[in-house]
Symmetry: C2
């Protein structure tokens, strides 16, 4: 049985995984807006380590009504646009439609569960370095594998089926027992590196690791995230911190996605990566001064906005 698949959110992530599935023969339907006619005429190009293909015929649509009911919906909008999903998703639903969020951080599964019913919801954690280099081209720099799991449940037959669909599409995909635990595990990396790369002045992972104090702060944040996960009931092992530090040393200079969003003036996914983990762990009794200050500063800078920051000037007072 082949799955009818919709992709909602055709940025780098949605375009890449959707194109991989479609190129391998899956029945994929993309929601597109501004880029629709260009993609319709030119197709979608995917380039990267060991792959270089053009999806010539892209099923792309202006609205989810035109797509109609699907078996699986890949949710790949930025979390800052989640409220758009309230109107976009319903035309895609039949009784057993699965919603698979490819988004970062915590709270996205819960958002989908709240609006469309918890039993529809699965989550994917994407380990990938990607760039949308034009409206018709995506370039993959590194990695690509995903971990998928059920929201609040152990894996089911359907979870394996979805994983199989990705595997057939050439995407390395594993099924995880405990999706939330794996989300926390990824946050052990994202919370320090995505946050510090912006707050320390727009620097990459190698620059963070080179500075002894930033390195100590990174480790301090990682330990807080592990503490937070455990307070929330997820048995994330303490060694996750040193493992991630070591792994990061081997990947070379890398700019986290949030830094790229920041540099490009795009909205930041502050709530799923920092806000929601902080709220949950604080409610569970954790004391997280580093996470709290990183969240607070990012939120404030996100609101001030990159543009406004350089503009603010006034007299030359002294205190």
């Amino acid at each position: 049985m082949s799955l009818r698949i919709a992709v909602v959110g055709s940025g780098a992530i949605g375009s890449y995984y959707g194109a991989k599935l479609a190129y391998a023969g899956s029945d994929v339907h993309f929601l597109m807006r501004g880029d629709l006619s260009e993609v319709h005429h030119a197709g979608l190009y995917v380039r990267g380590k060991g792959e270089n293909f053009r999806l010539a015929e892209v099923n792309c649509y202006n609205s989810t009504k035109e797509i109609g009911p699907c078996d699986l919906v890949l949710i790949a909008v930025k979390a800052t646009s989640n409220t758009d999903l309230v109107d976009l998703v319903p035309p895609l639903l039949h009784r057993r439609t699965m919603l698979l969020t490819l988004q970062n951080g915590l709270g996205n599964e819960e958002f989908l569960a709240e609006h469309f019913g918890a039993k529809r919801v699965l989550g994917a954690i994407c380990f990938i370095c990607l760039s949308r280099t034009s409206s018709t081209e995506v370039e993959r720099y590194d990695y690509g594998h995903i971990k998928i799991g059920e929201h609040g449940r152990a894996p089911q037959l359907r979870t394996q089926e979805v994983a199989g669909e990705f595997t057939r599409g050439g995407v390395q995909c594993s099924v995880v027992e405990n999706l939330a635990l794996e989300r926390w595990r990824k946050l052990v990396w994202n919370i320090p590196f995505n946050g510090l790369s912006i707050l320390a002045g727009g620097i990459d992972t190698a620059a963070i690791l080179r500075d002894e104090d930033l390195r100590r702060t990174t480790l301090g944040l990682m330990e807080e995230v592990i503490e937070a996960a455990n307070k929330c009931g997820y048995r994330l092992e303490r060694s996750a911190a040193s493992q991630q530090m070591k792994r990061t040393e081997t990947i070379g200079p890398y700019k986290p996605s949030t830094l790229l969003d920041w540099e490009a003036g795009r909205p930041l996914e502050i709530d799923p990566i920092w806000g929601e983990p902080l709220r949950r762990a604080t409610a569970a009794g954790a004391n997280l001064p580093r996470l709290e200050i990183v969240y607070t500063l990012l939120k404030s800078r996100g609101e001030t906005g990159r543009g406004k920051e350089s503009a603010a000037k006034m007299g030359n007072r002294s205190s």
Copy 2:
């Protein structure tokens, strides 16, 4: 007996206090560099709440050698230029010359003590909102009083004498028993507000207090500074935090000096305000995660520099 006074560092602070003393008849000699000839011809203007005067004849010099030995030297260079003092100060010294640092934070008295002998050293804590509006004009927006004390000693007769000199110059001046304790007390304000105003995206004190999370972070930092002071042996009372919060609410929107330095692209006094307090308190066994992260981020951003930050760009990767 009138004191022969030198002012080393003729920015806003040095110019203001030097001009006040000279205008009241003290024997003041200014070290100046770029602005010497302009000040020599035009004099120094001081404007502010309830004062508006011109010091017509300014004793200004190109080198401290020309000034020669003095009884009191006001040290008003930025702490980031302290190493310049090693050459600048010796020509000003006789056996009993006093060095009074008007600089911010911790470590400046120690620097002077190390190079010129501890018994010469006094410190002043300046509570003032000032601006150097041109090379010949200083404008005072608010406050102006100073607290002076001896470095590592109780006040002496000479401390009173120096305070008297300022008082005669129309500067409200009190002598403090324990200079270091008062430095820590001022840090309870400077550490959070100077730091967060930069890190939160270039915002003033009122914007910090308006944001509930920044307000909580401010209070958390204040509590850490009080804890740090106590670990270092200074009995700074816990209520200092709430007192300073209340005081800050009454002064209205205000940009701390470090933010103005940042906006103007000047070097930041990171070490005396954050680095040295952190090092001392950590050595005394304090755990200061908030101060540590604020220091680390400021240091990194100070090194990256405001200009470089906007320049850094690369591909649009995603993680």
